[in-house]
Amino acid sequence: MSSERDAAFIDLRAITKRYAGVTALQDVDFTVQPGEAVCLAGENGSGKSTLIKIISGVEPATEGTIRIAGQEHAVLNPRISAAAGVMVIFQDFSLFPNLSVAENIAFATQLSTRERFFKPAATRQIARKALDRIGVEIDLDARVETLPVAQKQLVAICRALASEAQLIIMDEPTTALTEKEVRRLQGIIRMLKEEGVAVIFVSHKLAEVLDVSEKVVVLRNGKKVAEGPASEFNTQSLTYHMTGRDVPDVTPRTRRADAETLMHVNGLSKAGSFEDINFELKSGEVMGITGLLGCGRTSVAKALFGLVAPDRGTITLAGQTVPTGDPQAASRARIGYVPEDRLTEGLFLSQSILRNVAIGRLDAHTSGGFLNMNGLLAEATEWLQRLKVKAPDVQAPVQSLSGGNQQRVALARWLSRAPRVLILNGPSVGVDVGSKADIHDIIRDLASQGIGIILISDDLPELLATCHRILVMRDGRITDTLEGGTVTEEELAHRLAS
């Protein structure tokens, strides 16, 4: 055991971290061997980000010892940590959108050598070398903002390599990637490990990185609750350790056979975005729309709610035509839309939880031009309770809530308006496993009350757990219609990528 510890690249012992009375980490041992990939799993608030901050020197540990490459560090700061070869790739990649690929890769290296002058040839050489190491071809002169997400991630990896990374920490590396891109990332990780570079994945979407990892460490409430070889874990056991409870594997509830058709979409088209979209949605049905990033699924969702004006096509709801390209008309027809990026599109982050729910119901509580504040707030409070939003204070700003609870607030706003059709775009993006299951429960509940639900998602288990029917889109067209409950995850993944 001790020889293994001597060889470890990272060796943390009995790390405790307290913030003003709150214990974020308690007595955690954590080791990473050279060339080893470790999966660090845990829900939001489990302490995994704190652990990463301690390794990268952003936060000091309250107690415990830190050894990097055999050397003990009483004081660690980001510069010392980076010099020792610890590189963090944040979820947003921290790239410069306005600079070229070559410069993005070489920037940190050139700064660390205290170079005063900028040498384009040397820059390209550094970048070329890093790209060659992982066997990837990206135009060195392209501006990073023009690259797709997967390539941005590769640029970030190359930047870490150019700075002679011994350990690359990747925060949520697979959230924005398609199945195919995940496979390529896995290949690159295997290659890095052969060269002796260690990797830590910080993630709550785990299945994808499990097969390239040697070890899994699970944190819950600041404590290490499980550790072992990756082969001994599967999605189910990971979820169990992360949440401390069993989250059952579920399938959609059976819908009523005699349900009437609620929404009818006919020939919806928009040049360059989507083409000839046709479907019917029955009341009480959950219908998924999926496809790779850029397939047009988000544009279709927005068009259904009038946020994108289609060139052609009609939307009818319960026999009435809904004018297209007009979100207010869609809203009057009682169509609800919960956007993918609730932070920028869906919620007023600095406003109170209560107001965020109440905003959708101003009209209903207005008489003679005056607002009945008490009635409005009472109704909002009721909805927050029904959706089990965990908030100590409904007057607190929405941004103080966790991702799962924010999503519930966004849902509560729409539900208070009694929608007939609810469009949910990526309802569990950035939400931890426990809350995700709760959100799926809510979706199933709503459907059984007769609301038609359109779920836009690329989270395959989510689609399988909730949808009666799944439309697959590719290049702006619906290419497949699959029955939920009969299709398997592999089958769905195959239809998506092929």
Binding site: S94, L95, L99, Q110, F118
Partner: protein, 333 residues
């Protein structure tokens, strides 16, 4: 693998602005064959020197992700104060020394902006709106509010210095003043800083993403501080040239010009969100603004239409690329 033309050549602001300039010159020449002569060109160049130097500074600030509206106040402060100083202590002071004083004064005032922005982390627009008022008020209250037409002789000597002069066959006089060299110097120096030093690349990096810059180890504070000091120094230089060439130290001049200058820079493709801006674009933007201000009359548009034209050009010049970008984004979603 160099291309003859950059891939985005046809969608760049620079191309659009250059196109408008060429179009304008063609129309102007058709309506008045004397338009495209060395006389007009030298007139336009003279008019472009001060705006050009100021615009290069404004561009640097935009690239770094900030905005500066105080540079005209700095320019007039530096110009007037150095003139008063010279007249008071050494009327025969040689012009290079007067220039150095003006540049240093500008840098000093820029450092005040830089202090508030880089070290106290206050929003750039708020800070420079404040200092615009303070610098100008301080100048008029404590230094003087009289126009001085009796400049130190050395400044007049400077304004008489020409690189080239002559008379065309048609009998029109033309000249290119020394001050044109100052603009050239500023362009070359700024180009060198932006493209050949890590400091310059750091300015672009900060404009692209401050947080990322911090994470890769850019010294954000000092880089920002440098930007405002440098812009202040350029403003001081532009100010003293303005005074010398105009042969008058007028404490009421220049202020009010800042929006036209920023307009020129934005026309040239610099973005208010930071990270984007080129010298070529900035100079083309300046050229277009100067042409509109001076030559609109040639194509038969009354001068009262000047600001309408400039406004339309800005809407067009920034609107077209923004609209295209939005369409691209919609397609990608």
């Amino acid at each position: 693998m160099k291309r003859w033309l950059p891939k985005d050549f046809w969608t760049r602001n620079e191309t659009l602005v250059a196109g408008v300039i060429v179009l304008f010159c063609i129309i102007a020449t058709l309506s008045d064959p004397r338009f495209l002569t060395i006389t007009t060109v030298s007139d336009l160049l003279r008019a472009a020197i001060v705006i050009g130097i100021l615009a290069v500074g404004a561009m640097l600030v935009l690239v770094s992700g900030g905005i500066d509206v105080s540079f005209t106040a700095i320019a007039v402060f530096a110009m007037y104060t150095s003139t008063v100083l010279s007249l008071a202590i050494w009327p025969d002071m040689p012009w290079p020394l007067i220039f150095v004083i003006a540049v240093c004064l500008g840098a000093l005032l820029g450092a005040i902006n830089g202090f508030f922005i880089a070290f106290l982390k206050l929003p750039t627009l708020i800070v420079t709106l404040g200092t615009l008022s303070v610098f100008r008020g301080f100048l008029l209250t404590f230094i003087g509010s009289q126009r001085i037409s009796d400049l130190p002789p050395a400044m007049r000597d400077f304004s008489r210095g020409v690189l080239a002069r002559g008379t065309t066959e048609a009998g029109n006089f033309y000249s290119i003043p020394w001050a044109a060299l100052a603009l050239l110097f500023v362009i070359v120096l700024t180009w060198f800083i932006l493209h050949k030093t890590m400091l310059g690349r750091s300015i672009y990096a900060i404009g692209g993403s401050v947080e990322s810059a911090r994470r890769v180890g850019v010294n954000v504070k000092w880089t920002q501080f440098f930007v405002y000091v440098y812009v202040g120094a350029l403003a001081g230089l532009a100010g003293i040239i303005h005074g010398s060439v105009g042969r008058m130290a007028d404490p009421f001049s220049l202020v009010g010009l800042e929006l036209s200058v920023i307009a020129a820079v934005v026309l040239g493709g610099a973005r208010l969100i930071g990270g984007y801006g080129t010298l070529t674009g900035t100079l083309l933007g300046v050229a277009l603004i100067v042409i509109v201000q001076n030559s609109l009359i040639v194509v038969g548009i009354p001068t009262t239409w000047q600001s309408v034209t400039i406004g339309l050009l800005i809407l067009l010049g920034t609107g077209v690329p923004a609209y295209r970008a939005k369409q691209e984004a919609a397609r990608a979603g």
